[in-house]
C-alpha cells in the first residue's frame, strides 16, 4: 500500500528536443495537464513538471552500473536505504542524480509522458531518464516485491512524423509505442492503467511527398486532441472521487 497524500498528483515529463511551439507531443501533454489540473479543481492537486530537453538527465555511467549491481545482490533494497550502501564519492554522485527522479515517480498518481519518435524509437533523453528510474529495486515494494507503479496511471503521448499503423508501409518499424508498452508492462503497470495516445503523420505539411496524407494527418491530430482531453477529464474525475473517499 502506498502512503500517498489524498491530494492527487501529476508528474508531467516532456522528452522531445523541440520547444513547445514546434513540438506536437509537448502541445498534447500541455492540453492533458491543463485539463487535468482544471478538473481537479477545488479538490486541489499537486503538479510537477520536468523537461528532459531543458534539463537533460545525465547518462548512466560505469559507477551507476556497479552501484546498481551491488545493491541488487542484496535483494530488494528499499529506496530509503540505498544511501546507507554508498561507499564513495562516485556512488554518492550517481545516487544524487538518481534518487530525486525515482522519488518524483513514486510520489505521482498520474505519470504523463510526451514522447516524439526519433529514428523509429524514443528520444535518447527519455532513455536516460528511464535508465535512472529503473535503478534496481527502486520501483518495487521491498516488503512484498510488488510493483510500486501498479496503482498509478501512466499516460504516454506519442507523436511521429510518419504512419506506422496496420497497413502502413512502415508497419512493423514502430519501436516507440511497443517499447514503452513493453517497459511499463514489464515494470508491473496493469494494461488498464497504461494509456497511449498516438498522433501520426506530423510531417505531412512539411515533407512534400507526404502532401496526399494531409487529410489523414488532420484526422489524427483531431483524434489525439480529443483523446488526451477526454482521458484527462476521466482521470481527474477518478482522482476527485478517490480524494473524497480518502477524506
Amino acid at each position: 500500500m502506498d502512503h500517498r497524500a489524498a491530494t492527487p498528483s501529476l508528474l508531467h515529463i516532456d522528452a522531445g528536443a523541440s520547444p513547445a511551439g514546434e513540438s506536437v507531443s509537448r502541445r498534447l501533454t500541455a492540453l492533458f495537464a491543463d485539463r487535468w489540473r482544471r478538473d481537479c479543481g477545488s479538490a486541489g492537486h499537486r503538479y510537477r513538471y520536468r523537461d528532459l530537453a531543458a534539463e537533460p538527465v545525465p547518462l548512466v555511467t560505469a559507477d551507476y552500473v556497479r552501484l546498481g549491481h551491488r545493491v541488487e545482490r542484496r535483494g530488494t533494497v528499499p529506496v530509503e536505504q540505498v544511501a546507507g550502501l554508498l561507499r564513495n564519492a562516485a556512488d554518492r554522485r550517481e545516487w544524487q542524480l538518481t534518487r530525486p527522479l525515482v522519488a518524483e515517480v513514486l510520489a505521482a498518481d498520474v505519470l504523463l509522458l510526451g514522447v516524439p519518435m526519433y529514428n523509429l524509437t524514443v528520444p535518447a533523453a527519455l532513455l536516460a531518464w528511464i535508465d535512472r528510474i529503473s535503478f534496481p529495486g527502486a520501483l518495487l515494494d521491498p516488503g512484498t516485491g510488488a510493483s510500486r507503479l501498479r496503482d498509478k496511471r501512466i499516460v504516454v503521448v506519442c507523436a511521429r512524423g510518419g504512419g506506422y499503423g496496420p497497413g502502413a508501409p512502415r508497419e512493423g518499424l514502430d519501436f516507440q509505442v511497443p517499447y514503452l508498452r513493453g517497459y511499463f508492462t514489464d515494470r508491473g503497470v496493469p494494461a488498464e492503467r497504461l494509456h497511449f495516445v498516438t498522433r501520426e503523420l506530423t510531417r505531412a505539411w512539411d515533407v512534400p511527398a507526404m502532401a496526399p496524407l494531409r487529410p489523414r494527418a488532420a484526422a489524427s491530430a483531431t483524434a489525439a486532441r480529443q483523446s488526451v482531453t477526454e482521458l484527462a477529464g476521466r482521470l481527474a474525475a477518478r482522482q476527485r472521487d478517490a480524494a473524497r473517499h480518502a477524506v
Copy 2:
C-alpha cells in the same frame, strides 16, 4: 559508387557504460576487432575506435531538429554541402557535432557496434549517436537517393542479462536486436550485410535466482565468442580479396 580507398576500414564503436573488464559486449567487440585486424594482415587496414561512454555524443537539440528540417526541405543535400546552409552559431555548433560522426560512418567498410541491453532496449548513449548519424540525407547518395550504407558490413554485438529467445519468459520484450535490425534495414542495409551476434544471460553468475541458467549462459558465451571470431575472419578475408581486386 563509393570512392573509398582500397585499404579496408573498420569503425569500432562501443556503447556500454561499463569498462572493458566489466563489459561482455566490449570484450566481444574487442575479439572481433583483434581478429579482423590480424587477418587483414599485410594487405593493411584502417581502424577507428569510438567509445560512446568515454566520449558521449551530445543529445540532439531543438537547433539540430530545426537545421535538419530546413535541410530536408531542399531534398537530398550532399553531406559536403550542408555547411553552406548553416545560418548561425547554433547551426554551426550542431553540424560540428554531427559531421565528423557521419564522416566516420561513410569512411568505414565495416561498422562494428557493441551494445548491451539497458531496460529492454539499447543504451541512451547509442541512440544519441544514431540521432546524429541519421541527419536528414546524410546516409543517402544525393545523385541516386540510394543508401550509402548498402555496400558496408554492419556487425552488431548485443549482450543482455536475461534470456529473450523463443520460449523464454521474456520473449517479446526484446527491443534491442529487433530495433537495430529495423533501423539498419530501414536505412538500406541489405539483410545479408547485417550481422548480429547475441550473447544472453550475462547476469547468470551474479543474480542468485538465475543460478540454474548458468549452463545455458556458458553455452551462449562460447557460441558468441565463436561467432564473432568466425565472422571477423570471414569479413577480413573478403576485404583482402576486395583490396586485391582494387589494386
